[in-house]
Amino acid sequence: MKAAPHGVLTGVHFINGDAACCEGAIAAGARFAAGYPITPSTEIVERYAARAPQVGGTFIQMEDELAASITLQGAVWAGARAFTVTSGPGFSLMMEHICYAAMTETPCVFVDVQRAGPSTGLPTLPAQGDMMQAKWGSHGDYPIIALCPNSPQECFDLTIQAFNLAEKYRNPVMFMMDECVGHMTEKVVIPEADEIDITPRRRSPDAQLFQPGEDLVPPMQHAGEGHGIHVTGLTHNERGYPDLTIASQDKLVRRLHDKIALAAEEIADWDEEDIEGADVAVISYGITSRVAQRAIVMAREKGLRVGRMRLITVWPFPERRVREIAQKVRTIVVPELNLGQIALEVERLAAGNARVISVTHAGGGVHRPEQILQAIEEGAR
């Protein structure tokens, strides 16, 4: 399916990441957003509030993030593609409903423009401290998909991808921006509507609401369509009815996991360069990948053999490729605007095959390229 032309602002724009994310959502068919103001994400919903009545969309500003994070799910069950947008402290409040979306298999997108925490932290300077929260923040075991853009152009492109993945797997998708990417203004090319692929909602008039297909993903029905659907956050059977047994819990939770695990290779996305023959690989994401690029150029000028991998999907983690890289290089350098969250994941997958150097930053700014360079030099030794 292609994007609806009335939602696509085709042309070349000079806009920031927040605006590009909003345009990506509209192009992806988002016709509902619920929000609550918090910097540095607010520009996304400010723009959506202005654009929504022009594209057949609805925006509502709720009384808090607890509300916003479930209002959008109500809209999804009425037939909308929907998203909400927040930053750090608001993301914490939204944790209440990320697992509800996972449990009820409600396709929707949560955008987190990360700022420095913990707590109110440094409003509203950049960080990447919510990466693990995106995966584990809600209670219970549930699968998550998270994407991480590093430019305004990607804020547009990957927001569309986030909606598509949400629909394809009937799962909440976290869109993990950071303050720098959100507020950075660059050229953004928005293609023609017929060049934008949209994954339609998986629908079936006969299947039960939680009766999985071959890929373990069930199709959806909406309220008001005459199916008498029932949706609950309780452990449920394929009809959607509470089924409070250990066996049912095991079956449901494992299927939720397996539907994403099964597709992990397909979902995993990254770009990489010069891994073959490298002594050191730099694995990074978001704004940090752009600082790392400078460090890599500097290292190469010094004659070091450095490759790089930039994560586009963070969850599910591109495990196979990171394992392979760990067998090819001597050292993996992981710079990030936190005290080593993704570095832990890399370390787990390297499993001793490569040394992992975590280049930390508590947030509020970005690394100096020299910090990363130093780690590359150390890793090459």
Binding site: R31, P53, A67, I70, G74, A78, G79, R81, H230
Partner: protein, 288 residues
Amino acid sequence: MAAVANPVEQFLRSERIPHIWCPGCGIGTTVNAFARAVIDSGLDPLKVVVVSGIGCSGRVAGYVSFDSFHTTHGRAIPFATGLKLANPELTVVVYSGDGDLSAIGGNHLIHSARRNLDIKVICVNNLVYAMTGGQSAPTTPETANTSTSPYGSFEPDLNLPKLLDAAGASYVARWTTYHVKQMERAMLELLRKKGFGFLEVVSQCPTLYQRRNGMGDGLESVKFYKEHSKVKNDACLDDLAMDKIGEIICGRFVDRDRPEYGQTMREFYQNKLGAKYRAPEFQDGVLV
């Protein structure tokens, strides 16, 4: 075999009955009134959606055959807000308990009444947190004994009708599980009223409230409501606070016409944006 069916039956997920509610619990009684009101209203039941939060009353969603959503604790109203805004054709009913709606969900209750979005809230008020074992709620009358006020409650309780009036609800009424006929009529009024409506049904929780307070079983509770309630449609809202053994004032307290949120929003944008406005449109059940 009877030639007619119980009117409630067509709206039950019969395979899930018997329900989990205790003997003499009032929640099922409210469902009887609701079913009859839906019939009286002439609404298409396939367009009626029931949204509940968490708690004993929150289980209503699981027993009625309407499209139904059992959401999270306190958040039935925001979920309903998304449903109603995305598809204004739906009649969206929030069916939940006092703790769910007025404590953890209190903020949403206030702001939804303020917006006056067309949502119909049925608040089954059993004066206590029942599902979790009978703890104090904001609605627990002073002096009542609960599992977290073992020496009696000393907190003032929340006067729900007064709160809803101040916040701007279009319709506010209160009845008890004794008043089955009035409850049915109030639910009908609620279903017909455009805007945010709120019906409080004072309902017994014999297992955890009445018994602990020496007020007997379900039957005794309904008799108590019969004896202690007073119908005052024009009551001064200040007088509606409930104490443990005093009068329960019932009636329709607010019935006014205010601009409904969804319609106002759409008309507002249409006027502001003129030709640039684009109305929401469904294609194959999905908004495009």
